[in-house]
Symmetry: C2
């Protein structure tokens, strides 16, 4: 090597070590220093590059770790690189990236169910959604036409959401005795995003969320993926039993209670007023944040549920979640969080950092529905339909499952939580029904303890489908119980 | 206390310790054991409750920690609770909850800018969005009308997104030499959500993302909030300089390069083909995931940018991001990720766990735009407009800032990155301009080193607004430089 040998530039940001590494690596990759090429001694390299020998040692170690060079006793340091071996070795290991990623994959059964729920050949007996036949097609078409003449621009909205929509939601909430201004309302992409924002914005790694068990949240990783634990709390006929929440200083200021007081998913239980008050009192005494998920409230069938916790509290501990997904349309992806303004502004900031806000067109549509009482009128119709479908399912259950299972009649919502009283494998039942083209939700996705439960929805399948598949369900349970 | 004293139930899930804690706490809260009431000795309590004395010790310690009781030398254990003091003490400390939460708040200056960007009284000279005057109102109105007759239901879509839209995007990408099926496409709520999904789904806490500096990502917490570090890499006139990326085993299989090869935000730089190839080669040699953010590609003004990295790679290392936000409408919130199917399925699963999918109505609208070439025709118009507005800004800059600042003319995108060559405080300039009703983006929100830069956008403000505010900018810079 000549006196005019390349030397690292000591006056740039790039470290001398890195420059030499790259220099040698490029010599090797370009083939200028081919496989078997013998490098100068460490001392000589240090001299040529005008650096300390220790720098050379470090560079050579790094090159070795990549397999570019090898040190052989007696022969010195040799290039061991050839292009083909390199490319065959070096591809990203996606499996390992995915498995070690921050967010965990969903439970496999739940992933399957999500897939099957989109397939039209199945009778959807578990799906927590209103039937497409109940979709208010003509009103929605009217709303879309009226919007088509008004849309002058679809830019980013304020992080909290379209103000007229927030006002309309605040107005709607007054029917439920929640009296807040639009500044306490944040529009989210459905209730699930509301939970994600709360987990990221109000809790910390190591926090605990107490929630009534069974729960659909056990099958999602929204909390667990950021290091928050779920702690299942027993439910009695009044819902989440607050007496079961462990009292310990370690949970203070770092925990939350998650509850669905009205028409709980999956049990259908509605918490009476006295339990709501006790739960609130407890949360106030122990500084526990309460996440009140009230997405089924508007789906009451017999009588409206008791007032929300949010309307009863004295201390602003309750973060309230609502949504149009269960009532009007899941595809709009419109939900909301109600909390004190400080919390709302913080959650809005996080939302703006994660997706820059919810679809403006969805917000415009939601606004049209809420502002003119289209939504209220629509709910009246839906209640009638739900009542009818609930009756059909209950009478089918009586006819076909009365000796095999037990259930309570929910006063609203979408679900009937059924305890199978004979000893069968629910997994087998789930698969057998699937084989017959009927999708039911096995209880164990709501908690390991619920191996003898299933969740049915009376809202999605048609009248005939319900009758047919409940009769089938009875037969399958009976035949499985004979096997066991 | 009588022989028939209450005793904890040893056969429930609730621990004996908890039951006793609740029992005593309720006695105190109810007032049955009032302030000053003396509790029985530990031994006697253990006897009455039929538990070990150690359990009683633990319960009393816990009660003390809440301030329900106190032990006084000589007087034993006394109730010290009174209801008022309790409620005044116990409110959630929201400040602390927010500050210790997982997701960090946005930079204060950026929060301000986000707020100001929504206020109509300001001239938006920094806003990275097309002007509402360019919004294709009549075509959008047509699209909405046509949809209004077709919407039969708005349910949850498949997690990856509405299949016809994914097909249309795959078709659109073929124009950019990216040849994938719809199974390699995931619909997201804009490009930012794509980044969030990648951070949660492909990286882990402790990972490093290398990115060209300056970057708008320094002002967001999308990566940092989940424990991923950003590592700024120098840019030269060809864009991100891959030679500056440190080579070390420790980054392998746990790092990514984030780049905007075409019309970089904020610098406007477009990476030439040779640099793209070198960057890819480097990523392949070192197993680095490449996140290619290509949201400005369709906004070329003079000539289309070189082919995307995604179209050139041999190894599937590139995760590609596109969006309609910069070109058609931010409010639709439609973006996409393109990657191998395994990655797409995993990211789709995470998406379904965080928001159950992007607005169906937004997806329908995007589909209408893409399927009939409405989008392509619209882009031709937009390019003409952008070219015109860029000329106006450049000529204004020449007129008013030629001796004060320097800049390159971007070949597309929305931004001009301006280096102020006189010694002034950019913060002061930002505030002075704000005072005059003009919003500019100070360089330091893109990295601490950029204290003498500003980012202007030629896309949002009107012709007159651009002329007026650039002239004002010249005056302000001049007067600030005289002060210093």
């Amino acid at each position: 090597m000549s006196k005019n040998h390349w030397k690292p530039n000591k006056e740039t940001n790039v470290s001398v070590y890195q420059q030499i590494f790259i220099y040698i690596k490029n010599k090797i990759i370009s083939g200028e220093w081919p496989d078997g090429f013998k490098l100068s001694s460490q001392r000589k390299l240090a001299d040529e590059f005008d650096v300390n020998r220790s720098t050379i040692v470090t560079v050579l170690e790094e090159l070795k770790s990549y397999g570019f060079i090898e040190t052989k006793k007696g022969s010195g340091t040799l290039v061991t690189y050839n292009e083909e071996s390199d490319f065959s070795l070096r591809t990203i290991n996606w499996d390992s990236l995915i498995q070690s990623s921050i967010y965990e994959s969903n439970n496999r059964v739940v992933q399957d169910i999500n897939d099957f729920e989109l397939e039209e050949q199945f009778i959807q007996l578990g799906k927590g959604e209103l039937s497409p036949s109940l979709f208010p097609k003509s009103t929605m078409s009217q709303v879309l036409s009226s919007i088509s003449n008004k849309v002058n621009y679809l830019g980013y909205e304020e992080a909290r959401g379209f103000r007229p929509l927030r006002k309309a939601i605040a107005h709607h909430l007054r029917n439920h005795s929640i009296d807040v201004s639009e500044n306490s309302v944040l529009i989210t992409s459905g209730a699930l995003q509301a939970l994600q924002l709360i987990s990221l914005g109000l809790l910390k790694t190591g926090s605990t969320v107490f929630l009534g068990e069974p729960s659909y949240l056990f099958s999602l990783k929204v909390f667990q993926s950021v290091g928050i634990s779920l702690y299942g709390i027993n439910m009695d006929k009044y819902g989440l039993n607050f007496l079961d929440i462990p009292y310990s200083k370690k949970y203070e200021n770092r925990s939350a209670i998650y509850c669905i007081p009205s028409f709980h998913n999956p049990t259908g239980i509605t918490m009476p007023s006295f339990r709501r008050k006790d739960l609130l009192k407890m949360s106030e005494q122990h500084n526990l944040l309460v996440i009140e998920d009230d997405v089924y409230r508007d789906l009451w069938i017999d009588t409206p549920p008791p007032q929300p916790l949010k309307s009863m509290e004295k201390t602003n501990n309750v973060v309230y979640i609502g949504s149009l997904s269960k009532t009007l349309s899941p595809g709009l992806r419109i939900g909301w969080v109600v909390a004190n303004e400080q919390v709302i502004n913080h959650l809005a900031d996080i939302k703006s950092q994660t997706d820059y806000g919810t679809s403006s067109i969805s917000q415009l549509i939601a606004y049209e529905w809420l502002k003119d009482n289209l939504y209220r009128d629509y709910l009246i119709e839906i209640r009638r339909e739900l009542k009818f479908k609930r009756e059909i399912m209950i009478s089918s259950l009586h006819q076909h499952l009365s000796s095999l299972a037990s259930w309570d009649i929910p006063k609203g919502g979408l679900f009937i939580w059924i305890k199978i009283e004979v000893n069968i494998s629910i997994q087998r039942l789930y698969l057998d029904m699937l084989n017959e083209g009927v999708l039911i939700n096995p209880g164990y996705i709501y908690g390991k303890r619920y191996r003898n439960y299933i969740r049915l929805s009376f809202s999605y399948a048609s009248e005939d489908e319900i009758r047919h598949s409940i009769s089938l369900l009875g037969k399958k349970i009976r035949s499985l119980s004979k096997l066991s």
